[in-house]
Amino acid sequence: MGRKPFLPEYWLARWQTCLNNGRGSGEGARGVPLSGHVGFDSMPDQLVNKSVNHGFCFNILCVGETGLGKSTLMDTLFNTKFEGEPTQHNQPGVQLKSNTYELQESNVRLKLTVVNTVGFGDQINKEDSYKSIVEFIDTQFEAYLQEELKIKRTLHSYHDTRIHACLYFIAPTGHSLKSLDLVTMKKLDSKVNIIPIIAKSDAISKSELTKFKIKITSELVSNGVQIYQFPTDDETVAEINSTMNGHLPFAVVGSTEEVKIGNKMVRARQYPWGTVQVENENHCDFVKLREMLIRVNMEDLREQTHTRHYELYRRCKLEEMGFKDTDPDSKPFSLQETYEAKRNEFMGELQKKEEEMRQMFVQRVKEKEAELKEAEKELHEKFDRLKKLHQDEKKKLEDKKKSLDDELNGFKQKKTAAELLQAQTQQAGSSATLKKDKERKK
């Protein structure tokens, strides 16, 4: 809506009456001067107080190969020792590990979530490396979208997990971006605010660094990668932001160890040939990064995430599900209820599938059971048959045995009869011979 320029009241009243002849309600707004102190200049304070009571949340995603000093940089940025040991290099895929911390400085409470990519760049085949990252970011958007579409929602107490800033760690090769870097950044640039940084930059000399930075920026531009630009529309910070935009990507060094320089203890990395001071702007861009990320643009990062990246996700997601902005005469809230309906439909489908699978399982079990029963029955039959066979055999054998016994008995009888006869004959014979002998003698 066009705001009318500030005019003296007199002109304004005349002009307004001409405009609103007969009409009471004004469409646009007119500027009126105040004749005293009203007091609404306290509104920013009221707003700030409310936010302080509520607390802030900020979510950073660190993407980079293992060993580039991501965790150390986080520790250095926020001046604390976040937990965790260094990760191994043998991860099978890229995982995202998220930790949330509550920090407090003076009266400001910050819920900081640091998400690390574990195993990024370690695989032999890195084609799918970016996928888990994109999925993670989308999941956070989805969670927020779900909450926003709920009927009973609690948006103001919702813990926002959407990623506000993505620090992309570039390995300090000194030459150019790796193709993995380009591909990943291209996939992420429409989903999150990317701030590329050169990690472990104490490995590069100053002259190499300038060439490296130029090469990186030109590669990003030629590949159409949109990195986060610090905003230059607010005069208070336009100057510093535009200067810093020229220093991207920041060459950082992280360290949580302290070294005594002069009479102060500073965070630094000590080498035999010298000490790299983290907070020395001549040594590295750490201070610039901290300034831009935290002290100047934290709120803008959050706002961009919500108004640009999240809106884009939301638009795409809803269009994907088949919604269009309704014309005036179509049903309102078809968005809401159809989204719910579609979701229910999807859930219903899932459930149906589950049912189907269960049915199939039950069916299979029944079949198998029937089969087994069949087999069992067969076995029983076989057993019975065999038993019968066995019994028959047995009977036969017994019969045979009986007949044999009978024969044997018969034979025995015959034998005894024969023996008796023989004995008798022998006796008769001997008596007969005796008789014969007697007769001879006479």
Partner: protein, 357 residues
Amino acid sequence: MKRGSHTVSLQKEKHTSFYGNMADVGKTPVARNEKTNSEFGYVGIDAILEQMRRKAMKQGFEFNIMVVGQSGLGKSTLMNTLFKSKVSRRSLMTSEEERIPKTIEIKSISHDIEEKGVRMKLTVIDTPGFGDQINNENCWQPIMKFINVQYEQYLQEEINIERKKRIPDSRVHCCIYFIPPTGHCLRPIDIEFMRHLSKVVNIVPVIAKADTLTLEERDFFKQKIREDLRANEIDIYPQKEFDEDAEDRIINEKIREMIPFAVVGSDQEYQVNGKRLLGRKTRWGTVEVENTAHCEFAYLRDLLIRTHMQNIKDITSSIHYEMYRVRRLNENNTQPNGQQAIHANGVPEHEVLSHEM
């Protein structure tokens, strides 16, 4: 940005969650409390306050205030006094409009005002004709409908696929109800109106033209009003149930003890004791508007503008608007065949859903 002995204390490490290639996504980490770890150095987290302030100043604020009451109670004057400029409808009127309307009209006028770099779009919604008819039955209905229409507009914009970066907020944040200074108790029309509207908008009742009451009459009147409000279960701003913490409660209790504010409005300045003050000059003395011994205008102004404006807006957006949204979405789900539904507030649905037909 001040630097000092700021310590960044790491209060708690919360739940660590793993999101693998297909792992359990969407789980939000849960907070737990443990040891404090204070380190050296200044991180600059509190700079976010400054960033927020900058953003707020750049964006500006919106505030929509509605005035309801019979004609002649000094509504327009009070608005002008509150915002120290000619923001009311009467200041823009031509002479042909100086009549009491036959039905309730709703007129809203917007102004851009600025103070110390803070820009605000103030919208004053006037309701001429309220309570002025002979038969005032259901006089609250058009107002209720207007409020719901604003909620509806906001809701429609919110559920658009392509929606604006900043949804223009025309929802009524605060409704000031003018009670005529009878000195006895609330009239049936007052009770009816407040009973229905306190459910959808923040109501701040004020005793109008309080310079006709003596201090004792005023106290008695206020007590009666509070009793009446309690007896009819009317929840006026600041509502008890939305007190966030003990500190809030203490402040709000003090306010609740003083409500309704007895106000006097004036846009004329007079010389009093060598100073030029806003007031009403009578033969027996000058009522000073901003003198708390005379009337409670200053308390009302402080409440509405200087201390609780953000809170009023928050309650409107996170409670009243959400309640409307829940009602609306549930209705849509349970009445798909377009049956006539009666709103919880008694207005037939076809009147409220004025958009779609």
